[in-house]
Amino acid sequence: MSTAAATPQTGAAQRAPRRGAPAWLSWAGYATVLAVVLALAASSPNFLVPANLAAVLNQAAVYAIAGFGLAVVIVTGGDDVVDGGIDLSVGAVAGLAGTVAAVASQAGLPPVASIAGALAVAAAAGTVNGAAVVLGLRPLLTTLATMGIAGSLTLVISNNVKVPFTGAAFEWLRDGSLAGLPVAVVVMLVLFAVVGLGLGSTSWGVRSYAVGQNPTAAKVAGINPRKYIFNSYLISALLAGIAGLLLSARLSAAVPGVGNQILLDIILVAFMSVVFSRRLVVTITGTLVAALFIAALTNGFTLLGVASQWVGAAKGVLILVVLAVVAIRGRSDAK
């Protein structure tokens, strides 16, 4: 009797302290999102209108899809930004893919061929990134270089003018709907399911996290880190390409320079995802929530008539809040 009563106690005492943040923290993340959305809904009657919500989802799709790719890179490369995984070329590759598709369809290629061409170009960029990183270059510098190359190629192909994105297929991408949802949103949800399940519950995902958190240990355990790291850049570039296609379809044109504008938002979305994870790591679900949050915030500010300059400041402060949270993790780990 006494031993049976004592066992659970010793068991509890011996349990290792739970890693990561206190449990309330991840709920605080969701609570903040909910509070902001409710505040926007309360202050602007047009916010919770179905048409506006569809617009928010549409805006979120581009950031979320490219963010998924960046999240995979960060997961596989480790979240230290200078030496770990980072892909600065996502924005430029998205812009390049959109431009390639627009120029190809202008030249009379069928939509399927233009989309395939755009994705092939994106995959080529991802291959360059992956190969250079696997060879031992810092991801930050590699993707900085490919960002410059992709941005320059965009200018060369488009001649630095807006290329209209015409054709029934692209209009369907913009205006069409599947099961009552805009096409971009459906694409986002499908990719969310694929990447999220892949990273969360397949051996590929578990190994990717292992490689990112301790490449040496992963290697000792028989995983080939290079394979996973290379693939992460390929995936990131492909998802960036898809995001670029959707963005161009939404704008009805491939706009040169749009890549640099969305880069910071994609980085913000991917890094913000840590707030929504109990272990404070980058996750796909968190990326989706962060993308929805950023899109809702931007949209809500516009509805309220807040000058667009403040949106940038709000995003900057947001990142800082996120990072302060991450810094708390760093300190509690060090103790």
């Binding site: 031992g136 510098l141 410059g148 001649n159 301790n214």
Partner: protein, 349 residues
């Protein structure tokens, strides 16, 4: 392990072999190849006037990159130097537009830039936010601040005839026949070089960058050293901003960010010159010259501006890849595991 340990210890090695030196010569060789190629392609490239013009155009990038070198040496990175540059240019141009005397405009400009450095230092040293993300958010906020201060991003144009000479000199003056921006860049680069490689501060900063834990244990004031790097970088960028405002007689919002990526590229091209992959001011200047001559030569050869990003990206990839591949044949260094935010910077290409 012993082989690697001996190899990494200076002084114990015999005279360097050619194979050891080759990876470190790539950047200078690329620079020489660019000069050779363009002097064959365009007759005007290798003239004194053109090269002086190149140096004059490069001065601002050289200043920004010299500051970036300090930050990278301290183990960090600063994406917000463009904001420091912009705010300094904005403050200086606005002060001149309001008819303040030149020295006030310059001091106000430098103060605005230094403020950005102080914010960075606070975020990174006190709040311990990783440098990349801290300076990224300062970039966001700084861009917003610029737009708010200029009423939505309207440029400030100064009337050329009304700009006092004491201010116009900063960007357009000559000292012994050399443009003032070049003089400033050479002076700043020299001072930063001496400070980094010849003073106790520089040695402590280097140690802190490469082994933060060890230098904290050995009683170095790690926080103060890191903070000084960010403030110094912002101060140098602010000087570049004043020069830019004076040269263009204007402030154009978000013009500073254009220099950030080039500066980072130049700094890391420069790192390939060092045996330890350590960044240094002379190496950075080689990188800056590669970018500058590439841009100028392509202009002279009549290639459109659109191609320049491509050429820069390819040059950056080429130099770094060659450096990594050649160095890999020489040694195989153990890569430290990338831990979370406090990772020791692994010196790679």
């Amino acid at each position: 392990m012993t082989a690697t340990a001996t190899r990494n210890r200076p002084g114990l090695r015999p005279a360097p072999r050619a194979a050891d030196i080759l990876p470190r010569l790539i950047a200078p060789l690329v620079l020489a190849a660019i000069m050779l190629a363009f002097s064959v392609l365009t007759p005007t490239f290798l003239t004194g006037d053109n090269l002086l013009a190149v140096l004059n155009q490069t001065a601002i990038l050289a200043l920004v990159a010299a500051g970036m070198t300090v930050v990278v040496r301290s183990g960090g990175i600063d994406l917000s130097v463009g904001v420091a540059l912009d705010l300094a240019a904005l403050a200086a141009a606005a002060a001149i537009a309001e008819r303040y005397v030149p020295w006030v405009a310059v001091v106000v400009g430098l103060a605005f830039g230094l403020a950005v450095g102080l914010v960075n230092a606070f975020l990174i040293v006190v709040l311990r936010i990783p440098p990349f993300l801290a300076t990224l958010s300062v970039w966001f906020i700084g861009t917003s601040v610029q737009q708010l201060l200029t009423g939505g991003g309207a440029p400030i144009y100064l009337v050329r005839s009304q700009v006092p000479e004491g201010f116009a000199l900063w960007g357009n003056g000559y000292l012994l026949g050399v443009p003032f921006p070049v003089v400033a860049a050479v002076l700043v680069a020299g001072v930063v070089y001496l400070a980094l490689d010849g003073t106790r501060w520089g040695r402590e900063l280097t140690v802190t960058g490469e082994q933060p834990g060890a230098s904290r244990i050995s009683g170095k004031r790690v926080g103060a050293l890191g903070a000084s790097a960010y403030v110094l970088a912002a101060g140098v960028a602010a000087l570049a901003g004043v020069v830019l405002a004076s040269r263009t007689y204007a402030f154009i919002p978000a013009s500073g960010q254009l220099y950030v990526m080039d500066a980072i590229g130049a700094v890391f091209i420069g790192a390939t010159l060092s045996k330890y992959g350590r960044v240094s001011v002379p190496g950075t200047m080689v990188g800056v010259l590669i970018f500058a001559l590439l841009a100028n030569g392509m202009n002279l050869a009549g290639l459109s501006f659109f191609w320049q990003g491509l050429a820069r990206g390819l040059a950056l990839l080429l130099v770094l890849l060659l450096g990594v591949v050649l160095a890999r044949q020489r040694t195989s260094r153990v890569r430290p595991p990338a831990t979370a935010t406090t990772a020791v910077p692994a010196r790679k290409g």
